[in-house]
Symmetry: C2
Subunit: 401 residues, 2 copies
């Protein structure tokens, strides 16, 4: 499965993938993304204090100007590698820059995979020539597979929207399955459009798209060291956005948001061992922070997550998680909890009309929403998560072996 049927290439973006033998054998693990000369780029990165070496180097290079190439490897996160890691990230960029005839700072590096092992820069250097040769606009599909680690499906979403008489394409890919609780952006996501947009607007467009998508999902609560989300505007179509509030700005940013939402959803759906896709919707909170705290407390509760896995309407676990979420002076009588449209909890306990059968019918679904109404205010938050299954444990107990 991919998250979309039709993949539209983006004028001004070429991609290539090769099997460099960084960790995996017999599969692609190195990707180059080439940007048109006049492209602009926006990015958000992990807020994990132990951010990976490529995150540090990519930040530096993006500050120096718009890159010509993004260089992405899977299999090794180049995180927790100290000064060696920084050297290795820069060296990889240098190999590509030398072969492509651009400045070192015009290559931005990204890595995903095991933490704490030295990156094989020689393997990367050896693969650079064939990488440059393979660049093509149709490279999205193969690149979306090359960046996978424990992902079981590639995540690729594409939209084509009308702006006046012109058409704009937005295509994006992402990877991520475990260590997913993005705190600025998710593992790795690359979204590109052929619309033109100055950098400041592009960054704003990205920030607004990331908040409800990648920044509102969680698989296991473990914020990665390598999270990065990049948005590129190549300017190769005849649509230029110079005002986000304009009709063109609205249309393009909506398409970007749409692509990010679908990629984020695809990540949770492919969460390690996931069998259920569950939205946690908290409303009636005194503040958005309070709503998010409650939503994440429920989304991270191992007891709630195992009940999801078992399709067991064990709503007491949801109630217990809400109760420990740190909401001050919570009025229990005002709290309501629903599974989709089935009212379970009202007045501090089981609603009089609730039946186990009705709850069971919802929990049996592959996807559903837990609504938690706090009855304290107008703020709300929506978090997307999955269940905790045998396979999550299996995957993570065996990941390195």
């Amino acid at each position: 499965m991919t998250a979309t049927d039709k993949v539209y290439p983006v004028a001004g973006i070429r991609l290539a993938s090769v099997a460099a033998g960084i960790r995996y054998s017999g599969r692609d693990d190195l990707v180059a993304i080439e940007l048109a000369d006049d492209a602009s780029i926006a990015a958000v990165f992990t807020r994990n204090a132990f951010c990976a070496a490529p995150v540090t180097v990519a930040r530096e290079h993006l500050e120096a100007g718009t890159p010509r190439y993004l260089l992405v490897n899977s299999g090794n996160a180049n995180a927790g590698t100290g000064d060696n890691g920084l050297r290795a990230a820069r060296e990889s960029c240098k190999s590509l820059a030398a072969a492509a005839g651009c400045a070192l700072s015009q290559v931005a590096p990204f890595s995903t995979g095991v933490i704490g092992e030295d990156l094989n820069t020689q393997a990367i250097a050896a693969a650079v020539p064939s990488l440059l040769e393979g660049l093509q606009e149709e490279g999205w599909q193969r690149a979306s597979q090359a960046i996978m680690t424990t992902d079981t499906v590639a995540k690729l979403v594409s939209r084509r929207v009308k702006v006046g008489d012109s058409e704009v394409t937005v295509t994006g890919m992402a990877k991520g399955s475990g260590m997913i609780r993005p705190d600025m952006a998710t593992m790795l996501a690359y979204v590109a459009t052929d619309a033109g947009m100055p950098q400041e607007l592009l960054q704003q467009c990205l920030n607004e798209a990331v908040a409800p998508s990648f920044n509102s999902i969680t698989v296991d609560g473990d914020t990665s060291t390598n999270d990065a989300c990049v948005l590129i505007a190549t300017g190769c179509s005849d649509v230029v956005v110079d005002d986000l509030e304009s009709s063109a700005g609205n249309t393009v940013c909506s398409a970007v948001l749409d692509v990010c939402m679908e990629l984020a959803r695809a990540i949770v759906k492919d969460g390690e061992g996931a069998t259920k896709l569950v939205e946690i919707h908290v409303s009636g909170a005194a503040s958005v922070e309070e709503a998010r705290d409650v939503a994440y407390t429920v989304a991270h509760s191992p007891l709630v997550k195992t009940a999801m896995f078992a399709s067991d309407p064990n709503w007491g676990r949801i109630l217990a998680a809400v109760g420990r979420a740190g909401v001050e002076a919570l009025d229990l009588d005002a709290v309501r909890i629903l599974l989709d449209d089935v009212l379970i909890v009202s007045g501090g306990g089981r609603d009089a009309g609730y039946t186990e059968e009705a709850g069971q019918a919802v929990m049996d679904r592959d996807a559903y929403t837990i609504h938690i109404e706090l009855g304290r205010g107008d703020a709300s938050s929506l978090v997307l998560t999955c269940d905790l299954s045998f396979d999550y444990v299996k995957i993570n107990a065996e990941y390195r072996s």
Copy 2:
């Protein structure tokens, strides 16, 4: 297994257990604990906002004076049951009070088990006569089994200490295996001593014993709705503590702490599906809160916990958890991480002297300590936890079926 070899009864405490048929069949599920006339009692309860009905009622009754009886049932938590739950808790107390000839407020109720189901008060009322008949000083062992739910072993710890020429006994029991991340006290723990101690001192002694024991353990981060820890001083020995700083006060409180520590350790060791007992020791923090935040972030990380289960020295997951713990302006170069005495991380990455073999040797142990040195200050914290195994998922996916 029990957590202790020899169980000393406590003069002034009698216990009885019966099979009341509240949820389980063919096993004890109802316990009464009788206190001597002049006993004093101290208690701490869950801070979960959705605290169970018996927690509310027990708090009320304890405020009214020293109870004569504690009434404990397993199989049903009587939580999330609203006004019905409060009525049921009071009715259970009333049955016992009527039969024993004491005031309703002299019975304090406690419940543990499934959340959200109505408590069978008739079953309790029917069992009260045989419960009162069965009271005996030697009832600890049987009672410690009767309060179990998903526990696989009873948790019972006993100490006898010298105070001058006299002897003081401290004996305690606890239950708890899942939904364990106490936030005042653990699921249910009852500790008694035959020393005499006024209520205010007893409460202080309990608070000090609970902080490093029950309040520093976590199995799954899920703070229960029913946590309660009770300390009783019967005054039946000839030792009276009227000053915690006195030699007698020190000796008795140390024994109480010792019993609480061992019971807490027994709970984590018997954590649902647990195969490993791991101490997370965070030092060099700017504050105790910071140290605790880091320790709990590591202790709750599903990725760290599955690596423990797999005996996999995948220390990158520990590093990533430290990095996302929200420590502001963390100096990565100052951070050191050790597995027991094996230095893994220094200077922001893998220590030069670290070998996978050395890390593997520690992770293979049944119990070990993860030391995290932040290099920012003098505060520290110690949290005890266990791994996340297939069986945790199995137990919690099947708990109600």
